[in-house]
């Protein structure tokens, strides 16, 4: 059934910019203030107030536009978008309409290893609205409460072209976009707190058709998993409806994450009429080439480029390179460790397995507060190389380093974890183990090669893992009878 249709998805991302102050006033953007404690007459839309543009917000948007290969319009302008809602103090949102900051860019995503370019339609600036708290649910509430702390926080809206063809590709696009914003340091990417929000337009069309089907807007997806599930559900729902000969209604549907389906908002509101017109309280922006060029020099190496460099410079497998470059901070950590301990694949293994296991998964910034600085990881790995500790002991030491923040030497010294490589001392243990494990020795004689491994394990156990395994191996081979 689903093979008859092609899924067409366009994504609209609202990213909150990491400025210190709001888009049009000096109120702080910090999260978590008590209700209405981070407002002023401007962001509460009081009579008589006027907006003034935050330069850093514009610069963040220009840098993002550059990273997304957009054309930056030489002139751009703000416009008022009108609709009544109590979280919007002026009942219009200062946004951009006919003259957005940037248009026509692209973003490369890889699904199943095959890279594809997803077009960017436009990138524009706008202000966020406040927050509504419903007493009970929206349906049963008798009243709602309004907090304007978020009102006026700068947002960047990034609209993709309808180039996305599957739910998987949609999440790949969002992950790649989010990684870019994090690299640029313009957005913290937190989906749950709403600093990286996504709405999707999805429609189906018969495969091979050039025309688009009727699209449905999906809202309320606050994690990658939600996006994936919501779009998969919606594609199935539409395919089923089409197969049954039903018409798709152009509407907005909410993703009900707990229930696993999308639900029509049943909006009876006559078609929106936003009555856009140029914001008379703000003058146009003339984005001079010099300004753009100067901002271009501030762009960091972006995820895709860094990934490619990790493969070519460090000889890493593509998989490792991709994981390591997801987050700028993680990639920075990796490179710092490799500088101290120039065996890239070994560092990658430790970072991707041991370190990522310890770090909280949903916190991008955790790596910057990691109790094991890259230098300490490098020292730990060097201790394995010079035979001070075994690889097995190293893993325990790593855990202890993570808990205590101490360096490897301190832990190894204090806990006496130095590897025993003295053949004389180990020979006695080997003798003891051989005496205690006669059946294994018998097996060895009969040609059972696995017995050697078992016996090595017994020596390690007796020495609490401190024996140098190579020396133990050698001693065992010397002392064991020849197999018959």
């Amino acid at each position: 059934m689903s093979t008859d249709y092609e899924t067409v998805i366009g994504l609209e991302v609202h990213a909150q910019l990491l400025t210190r102050s709001k888009m049009f006033c000096g109120c702080p953007t910090a999260f978590g203030g008590s209700p209405n404690s981070q407002t002023c007459p401007v962001c509460q839309g009081m009579p008589g107030v006027l907006p003034v543009i935050n330069r850093r917000a514009i610069e963040f948007a220009i840098r993002t536009a550059l990273a997304l290969h957009c054309t930056i319009n030489a002139g751009c302008r703000f416009a008022r978008k009108h609709y009544y809602y109590p979280d919007m103090p002026k009942n219009y949102q200062i946004s951009q309409y006919e003259e957005p900051l940037a248009v026509e860019g692209w973003l490369e995503v890889a699904v199943d290893g095959a890279p594809r370019r997803i077009g960017i339609e436009r990138l524009h600036m706008e202000e966020d609205v406040g927050k509504l708290i419903h007493e009970g649910t929206l349906e049963t509430a008798r009243a709602s409460l309004v907090d304007f702390n978020r009102s006026g926080v700068p947002l960047m809206e990034i609209v993709s072209k309808p180039d996305v063809r599957s739910a998987e590709e949609a999440t790949a696009y969002l992950r790649a976009l989010r990684a870019i914003l994090l690299y640029l340091g313009v957005c913290d990417g937190n989906m749950e707190e709403g600093s990286f929000r996504c709405d999707a337009n999805i429609s189906l069309r018969p495969r091979g058709s050039k025309e688009y089907g009727v699209k449905v807007e999906i809202k309320n997806m606050n994690s990658f998993k939600n996006v994936q599930h919501a779009l998969e559900f919606e594609a199935r729902r539409q395919a089923k409806a089409l197969a049954a000969g039903e018409r798709i209604v152009q509407e907005t549907r909410l993703w009900e994450a707990d229930k696993g389906y999308t639900l029509s908002m049943r909006s009876k509101e006559y078609a929106h009429d936003y009555r856009y017109f140029p914001e008379p309280d703000l003058v146009p922006l003339k984005v001079e080439q010099r300004w753009v060029d100067q901002l271009r020099t501030t762009l960091p190496e972006l995820p895709v480029v860094r990934q490619q460099r990790f493969v070519s410079q460090y000889g890493l497998p593509a998989y490792d390179a991709e994981l390591l470059t997801q987050s700028r901070a993680l990639a920075d950590y990796y490179e710092a460790a490799v500088r101290e301990y120039p065996k890239p694949k070994i560092v990658s293994n430790w970072v991707l397995s041991e370190l990522l296991r310890e770090l909280p998964g949903d916190d991008e910034a955790a790596i910057t507060r990691c109790p094991i600085p890259p230098k300490n990881l490098a020292r730990l790995l060097a201790l394995i190389d010079d035979g001070t500790i075994s690889g097995k002991i190293a893993k325990d030491v790593f855990e202890k380093m993570y808990r205590s923040g101490e360096d490897a030497e301190t832990i190894v010294r204090r806990e006496g974890l130095v590897q025993v490589a003295d053949a004389g001392a180990l020979a006695a243990v080997v003798e003891q183990v051989l005496a205690a494990n006669a059946p294994a020795v018998e097996d060895w004689k009969k040609g059972k090669k696995q017995s050697l491994g078992f016996l090595v394990g017994q020596v390690m156990k007796t020495t609490q893992g401190k024996a140098n395994p190579a020396i133990v191996n050698q001693l065992l081979l010397e002392q064991l009878p020849k197999p018959s």
């Binding site: 007459p41 839309g45 009081m46 003034v52 009555r275 017109f277 008379p280 309280d281």
Partner: protein
Amino acid sequence: MPTIAELGARYRSGETTPTQVVESYLQRIETLDPQVRAYLTLTRESALARAEATEKRLKAGKPLGPLDGVPLAIKDVICTKGVRTTCSSKILENFVPPYDATVMVRLNAAGAVMLGKTNMDEFAMGSSTENSAFFPTRNPWDLARVPGGSSGGSAAAVAAGLAAGALGSDTGGSIRQPAAFCGTVGVKPTYGRVSRYGLVAFASSLDQIGPFAADVRGAALLLQAIAGHDPLDSTSTDIPVPDYPAALGQGIQGLRVGIPSEYVIEGMDPEVGKAVSAAIEALKGLGAKTEKVSLPTTNYALAAYYLIAPAEASSNLARYDGVKYGYRAAGGKDLIQMYGRTRAEGFGPEVKRRIMLGTYALSAGYYEAYYGKAQRVRTLVRRDFQQAFERVDVLACPTAPNVAFKLGEKEDPLQMYLCDVFTIPVNLAGLPGLSLPCGFTQSGLPIGLQLIGKPFDESTLLSAAYAYEQATPWHARAPALP
């Protein structure tokens, strides 16, 4: 009544004190304002406190600024911290701003004394001050007549000697027309000359705050205090502010005065025409050279204005919804009802009319034909002026086609709109305009002469007006109030 400059001189000479003056104004308001009804709110206590502060500075030997201790009336569209600011609308009847408009910050810093807030047409929409939700203001020259509008309360306060000066706002003539009707001087500065921060917006691209005074020097002193760049207003320019009072008295020898031929219209009061012609002759007599100029788009400016101003107003007034401040209708069972009733009950008929007109002009399918078209016409209006100003320094014409009319006389909105036919093009082009008395009708009603200048050239307007004022007797006349 003493002029602003005279007050300063008397304070410095010790002839009188700010407290005495403020007390006498408050006394005069108590006696006369029940008839004129210029004020909506009086700020007695803070006025006396400010007068006292000036007096202390004076006693301490500190130099007094030109506005120190000068009692002023402020149009109730300008936000005043802790003092209710209503815009003469029921929807803001109890609104007390938590902040001061930039012009108030400046006036306060200059030591000026606000006596109170003045009546106006609701949200500055009107030309007679009859659109106030509270009561109409009367013209001090004839209490049966309107003072003009929308800044009618400020103009009437100055004309009746209920304030030494006043601030108003002008979107389509709201300072100049009432100045003409009340026989005072009124200045609409260049768009961007005076900060709009704290001016409750009517039409953002047209609004400007400006002064009223009994004479040109007073207007110059007030403009000096409020003009200049404000980082809180993105449309305020940081072009340096010249010394306006210094421009006075330089004479107008060789000044090129343009007489726009389109500013004589059908139905114009012949007495207005005569007085303005005589004023132009007087300017010639003072050394000015006059020249006919043409502003061919004039005939379309009013129509363009009645799309642009309502469109912007419909947007600016969307915020009055009963959520954050102001009036909320009782009994709305859900949000949609609350919105619709609050706005229907909170706004008066003229405001609703303009909200409807503006909403329509911006709505889907009509934007290009209405709003877009009007903005193009605006370009043509600007071009007309630019071309004229290649040949002349100022333009001279009537401020309004008529003099003050009787209350209730203009019932038809369109007839009322036509009062502003000579002032509106100036707002569309963002130019400075000034109105000053240039004579009286037989029945004793003031007539206004409008001077229009190049962008940011208020100095030339003021110096031409000053020369004319000094050569004519009009400013010395005062209404006979009981």
